[in-house]
Symmetry: D2
Subunit: 474 residues, 4 copies
């Protein structure tokens, strides 16, 4: 309420109580003021009541909520269902304009603020998480793959004659398809085995660049976060190579914000070489629903070029989710989550190692991968060829989710390209294995239960328990 | 509750009351059964309680809501904020898989059902709205522009050598940018003036096809819904031409579902010629928040090809919104809204005509445009060149939204292409004008208030009232 | 947001859009200002967004929502469950203080405002509904019966020696128990039969007063709204009698606000005689959940005396419900509901009459009862004694709720008092009957379905259809 | 969804995923089954999704949510505002019937279940908290004071000739008014000073019983939880005395559930003597909004008698709040809160003691009071008479809530009875003091902030800082 209304309230209930109430309101306003002024994620999280107060204030500024509005356009933010209106806090107009997903909408000052502030807060968090020199970013309501596509499409306008993308192999369909969808030809660089780890084959990259000619290469498309035993690409070296050859460099940092190592790689790569944009998932890094990504970079005008490439308005839903989440957690809360994740990684590694030893397997040695772990299934496979895939379906029915079983010898065709040894990032990895990851939000209970159930499954398989129907892998 | 629990309830409260309660539950289940069996929008809308019951049931089937789940993957549907969880009904996993936006997710049977059912219901509604022979469609969490881009990118794989898109001019940035973003060269076909209407120049299209060679043309990109005095493209003729030359044909039907005329054009076009896909906005046709579109077509395998082109998972939020909305409205409720819109169009036309006459202007004669109307501003312009743009900002500050003022002589560069007479779909339209549309959800009050305020503004401008600061057009 | 924050917003998005947003906010504030100033129900209902904005503003003023509060008391408005906090809009402190349910709480300026405003708005609506001279009222979170008890307990302090309450019979348990619970002896005055109607036996009342001595009578306890064929008491005459003998007069107006006739009786009674308080249900008159009542009267100090009699704080939930409802409906919306109810009464009467005739029964002639109707079941009873009660359970299982079947010859002991002919307000009503009422919120569909199902039941009973298990009456 | 619907789902998405979803549903059902069967608070708290699933299931069983219902009664559970419907989970019918607040409603099987289950769970928690032999209880939507009134009114029917209630003094208005409202004469027994503690004067009670005659005494009305330096009444001795003289005994256990000591006193009192009922607040013990109480006892038929005394239906809102809260916390969570409260009591005592010493005051020695503490303000008062009350208002404006300042020499008339030394439970306590309590939900931060601010206030008062306007005490 404004000061006039507070004055009237003083006639209804005791003025000293109203004054205290009005003062209390000011303390919420003060938090909002700081946010607007600084555009940073507050160190301490907001209460739900401040968050909702703020969202309601934003909604009030959108024309669909004007009490005296009359609409004779083709898009007036009308909502047929009150369930729908409510779940979007009556913020209906989405973000952006036909020209630019980051542009301000005349009909929706509130939604426009939401968009600008979210991008600003997210930029702050990218810095907090380790990429201190990032200069610009925006949230886009598409998952990582489609966001990579958008980056590639933007680059096409800069390098219209370049059909190839250099891509150190990572066996995840959507990032491969991101290139195909954009209309480019991925040039797959097989990884090299160093100890248990699969790492970037820098020589092969260099050789391929020379072979194809730098001018024919749209960009190098590297990856940080990935399933062990693959580890993050050697970003520094790739970035230097890109700088040297004047080739753009796009980094798929899908769930890398949660890891200081991945973020450090990007920071370093940009410092010593060239990174044009790095793309990350909202859901995997901020515990929000699937469907948004952040496109970030070190050159504001290039990031703007990408944002202008998105034709038309877009859903504000992912922005709203990440805004609510970051305001509620605060930077402090987010850092706490990162710290817990790291600790749980160590714990998971320890427990997996113990379990591996007990079953005649071993935890693969992949120190460069800060999130994902892999335990060999060699001994299991030696018992029975089917046992490995059987383990996958047993874990599925026992509600262990995310524990990925990788058998040997898979072959898969993705968009016309044949991948031997698919899922293992390598044509012939030495052994089958099982992945488990310590991702943000994981709890002690997750680890304990997973290890317990895994143990049971392995024991039961050893006894050649009655076979279960296969249900597919995740 | 299951039957076992109902039995226990009978020991707590009178069994005849419990039996009635259990019977009442069955009537909700019955509605859900019909939906699942038929995959059609129920004729009569559901109560909010049935809708929420259903969504809760779906959520229970997703692994992030399993009571005994333990997650060791990198994407487990964890949610940090309970505000966020709640507003998505705890459906967190989004839709699709890396391979295909329409694919089923092992971790999320509920979200997968939501996705399949939404697509099925939307298909039903497209038929109800007039495109009876549509065979396949899917909801995509991107607005119309980006969805068109996805269609063009898909076509590239079929016609890798074709750089051109034939495009009868419509002055709306995002559909132009959709082609640019996809990496194609739009070939703009200027419209012809027939009476007051701007219509497709069929001869020019034909000539251009011959000039460029059909094999070099990716597709024809036509438009139905648009601002008067432009009218929907001559779809039948274009579709025939496409069939003749074996050129794909993509239709931008942005807000055309709400008009039986637009839908009839598509139905006819597909019947007599060739339409590969038609794309429409969710928000503009179904009164949901901005950010979703429907890609539909007559050949299931081509539509699937497009859905497989989307790399990675996607936000379920637009699907959820349209599902809630259609279940709540029912097919009957939606048809009622369409009928009311049509009636309000006639009413708006009548009122605008009266107003025009009172101010020495005229309602442009655009019978082929079923949604948008235009009133000349010739007389206003003759008073003062500035008066026309001034009218725009006056309407803005008076909370008349969507009433677009179109002055003469605008020139704008969009992605490198210069449009003379921008906003008017024509290099030199005879007069400046004002647009008003009767879009779905418009009310009698909207019309009354708009006419009243417009009248005041025109009067005040005539008196050469004190100038207002310009605030920009919408 | 306050003006300072709006200024900062102008640096983030265009200032003209922000200014419009800030203006839009003022229009909500303006509605709130009117409410605070006038304390009346707004004529036009508020949008949900204004209602929620207002409730959030109130909540912010309560100490449990102060951002810097520290609590070391025994009652700090802490909430363990966020579901609970949310459903009460974080208004946790309830209403009133130990001394007075209407008192202001230092810890909860917002809840105190809510309480005062609700009482003020409800007073306004009582006037709108017909009791123009009512001077004071308050909402109490107890249903009608317990609220009557509170009135009687208050009167005891004024008339400590008076053990009797004169009570024209109405067969509804809670109002009888209200007297018993308060510790008084109800003196039941049987009704007289006039035509089909059961009306107050004024002579018997007068005689009883003389017999017991006015000084021994705590009060007369009369009733307006009731089931036909009983009709509202003769309030004018009773009020005059009370004035003459200096006996307090409490009116049970349970669901009478919805009927202009009942309200008129109270207004007239107070004008020509004496009415000390009238009590009405919130749920039955305002379509809110069960559990609240309004205690109102014409003498402010007596009503205050009652409110001071309630020991301790009380739930704000019923006040919140009626506040939300009345702000959403507006006085205009409420009057519209009253009008529709009246029309539906005429419709129901007509349909019941037709049905009665078709089945050899008749609609009892009870013109003084404005809400409830009764249809004889004489012909049904003549077929079979059991058929009448069977009809009751048939209607129950067919989901016709509220259609009460009243057989002859019921006898029931309530708190030690034996009522012959219980349910029929009379020791020997001439015929069994069925009640149906046109209460606020009833729809055309309710009437149509009820008549249809009733018709089927009567037909099936006539055919001596296979007997159904009895499930009890409502 | 029922099994039929799950089967249909298997045709839409992979059957193994659906089967897993259906299995997940069963695990929720299983929790509900246990609850229904055992009627006990689950040891481990439920997730919000199970809680809401359960509430939705209950709502579906109420007639107002029947899809085919038609209503022609005067109370059909119609709701005008969807905001209101939603916040009550569409449970509209309240609890109880005219005859009995614990009775089952034919129209509302779901609400009836809610009522029964809540009472059952609350009974379980009373046992868990220490009164192991409690046999019956019910939740009533009235705060403690009015609930005590109801107990006294019920006793009147058993002892119609007894006008007196023996009441060891406790300076809290609502419990005094509870007796006045019920129409009885409180006989105040002053407390005796033992060390710093104010304790029950057992001799004076005994003497008064003999003086008035046991048959003239309605009951003894004792108190457990109270502000220090008063301590809980000597329940064992009072209970024995009541047994000896055959006098009913009602215990005001307002916020005593949270203290094992208070609960132990009741358990012991009932074991060795007589306790007819004990009454406690919902909000103060379970962190729910104000407005509900629990009436409990050791004799089922007497507790039933009280529940039958409540005339009419009642609000289900307090029952719903406590049900949600206890299901969410689980018995384990509740016990954890009790443990934390106890620890925080020790911490608060320690901190207050340090502070007291630093300011020349002392922490009063009140070991029998397990919740509330008192710190002398003698030294402060010696500086200035006004300083003590000034401290109160200073704390209020600094948002320290619940810290009660008790000056000497207050005199107050409550319902005609003059209390000397009001607020201090004694006509002449030796020194003024300040109260602070460690109540359920208190946090380390509450204590830290309170001590810090208190310290500042005391320092500033010592410096005879500029006087502040008094704002009243809490």
């Amino acid at each position: 309420m404004n000061s006039e209304n507070f004055s009237i309230c003083e006639k209804i209930v005791s003025s000293s109580y109203v004054r205290q109430g009005s003062q209390a309101r000011r303390s919420h306003e003060q938090l909002i003021r700081l946010l607007l002024e600084q555009g940073k994620c507050p160190e301490e999280g907001w209460s739900e009541s401040t968050v909702e107060l703020f969202l309601n204030e934003l909604a009030v500024m959108d024309s669909n909520n004007f009490l005296g509005n009359c609409g004779v356009g083709e898009r007036e933010g009308r909502v047929a269902s009150s369930l729908v209106a409510r779940r979007h806090y009556r913020l209906i107009h989405g973000i952006g304009r036909s020209g630019d997903i980051a542009a301000v909408q005349p009909k929706a000052a509130g939604s426009s603020l939401l968009n600008k502030l979210t991008n600003s807060i997210v930029l702050d968090i990218l810095k907090v998480a380790g990429v201190r020199s990032v200069s610009s970013c925006f949230v886009v309501p598409m998952a990582t793959g489609m966001s990579l596509t958008l980056c590639f499409l933007t680059l096409r306008h800069r390098r219209p004659q370049a059909p190839y993308i250099i891509w150190p192999r990572i066996d995840q369909k959507s990032c491969f398809k991101a290139m195909i969808t954009a209309g480019f030809e991925p040039v797959v660089i097989e990884n090299v085995l160093e100890g248990d780890e699969l790492r970037t084959d820098l020589e092969a990259v260099e050789k391929k660049i020379e072979e194809l000619g730098a001018e024919n290469i749209l960009c190098v498309h590297s990856t940080t976060s990935c399933f062990a035993p693959r580890v993050p690409d050697r970003l520094e070296e790739l970035a230097k190579m890109c700088a040297k050859h004047d080739i753009p460099h796009i980094v798929n940092n899908a769930y890398g914000i949660q890891s200081s190592k991945c973020m450090h790689l990007i920071q370093q790569g940009a410092r010593v070489g060239r990174i044009d944009a790095f793309v990350q998932s909202l859901d995997k890094n901020f515990m929000v629903p699937v469907g948004g990504a952040i496109i970030a970079g070190f050159n504001e005008s290039f990031i703007q070029e990408i944002s202008r490439m998105y034709p038309g308005r877009a859903s504000a839903s992912p922005s709203l989710d990440v805004l609510i989440t970051l305001l509620t957690l605060g930077a402090g809360g987010y850092k706490r989550l990162l710290k817990e994740r790291k600790e749980m990684y160590a714990h998971l590694a320890q427990e997996l190692q113990k379990l591996a030893e007990a079953h005649g397997e071993r935890l693969l040695h992949t120190p460069h991968n800060p999130i994902s772990l892999a335990m060999s299934l060699s001994s299991l496979q030696s018992q029975s060829v089917k046992a490995v895939t059987q383990l996958g379906s047993m874990l599925f029915t026992r509600q262990v989710s995310g524990a990925r079983v990788v058998p040997l010898g898979n072959e898969q065709v993705v968009s016309g390209h044949t991948f031997k040894g698919f899922m293992s990032h390598s044509e012939a990895y030495p052994c089958p294995y099982l992945n488990a990851a310590s991702a943000i939000g994981i709890t002690q209970d997750d680890v304990t239960l997973c290890i317990k159930r895994l143990d049971k499954c392995l024991k039961s398989l050893r006894k050649e328990a009655s076979p279960e129907p296969t249900a597919g892998t995740m």
